[in-house]
Symmetry: C2
Subunit: 156 residues, 2 copies
């Protein structure tokens, strides 16, 4: 079962965010609390959405996403920030069902692109993304300013 | 002068989007009309924002952006979709001033990351981004589903 997350799913979603970050060898970069995720998803000005996969009466996977905008398509798109299925529940199509639910949402809502990113060493994920028809944007590299570098630029 | 775009800037912003896409060898991918950009920026549910650089009484540069969400920081961030300064007005700091205005907005609003992407062959841009302290996310590759591949996944 794939469904939009509810406020009472936040603890499970937070646990899955941390499991995924652990797999991505970046748990030390996760500062988000349950309260932070609740505010992003269900606060007065939500900036993100989440779908969950349920099995055996519990949340076993999630897709955390938000809307993007393209000056080329002139339309909105969907950025999939996190896609994760608990290891014990893999191989049952939960990941594909989550991705398909978002693709359906894009088609229904006129969002032109469904995008996300993947670590270059995550071969199982890359194979899965090729299988569903995603195109790797290999000519492009994301640039990030954060922390002290961001403050330095702001201060001039 | 850096300022938020106004509705009457849309024709100039649209022209700059097309100039940038031409430089990026992708003008054929620009489907957005002036009306599309106006709707994204100033419609009933705006999905994006834009700052412009003015000189000699005209718009000579622009930064088109929208808000992102991170499950790691637990905060919003800013994605810079397009940054462009007309060739005749380069070397006067307009690009840096636009980037600095967005960095200041991030610091003031608690957005933790200012991010964008760059084509791997665009050496002048890459040098500029290194100079302001941006970090290239080289381990990550963006995956994109659009067009018929998106519809196929949605249809199952």
């Amino acid at each position: 079962v794939i469904r939009p997350a509810r406020p009472d799913d936040v603890p499970a979603v937070h646990a899955l965010v941390r499991e995924l970050a652990t797999y991505e060898r970046a748990l030390d970069e996760v500062e988000a609390s349950e309260g932070d995720l609740a505010a992003l998803l269900f606060g007065p000005a939500p900036g993100a959405s989440c779908h969950v996969a349920e099995a055996d009466g519990q949340v076993v996977g999630m897709a955390f996403w938000y809307l993007t905008t393209s000056t080329w398509t002139g339309r909105q798109g969907l950025w999939l920030e996190d896609l994760y299925v608990r290891p014990a529940y893999r191989g049952h199509g939960h990941g594909l069902a989550l991705l398909r639910a978002l693709a359906q949402l894009c088609v229904d809502s006129g969002y032109r692109r469904l995008e996300w990113w993947v670590l270059d060493w995550n071969s199982p994920a890359i194979e899965f993304y090729r299988a569903v028809g995603a195109q790797p944007m290999q000519e492009w590299t994301v640039q990030r300013l954060g922390g002290s570098a961001l403050r330095r630029l702001a201060a001039g």
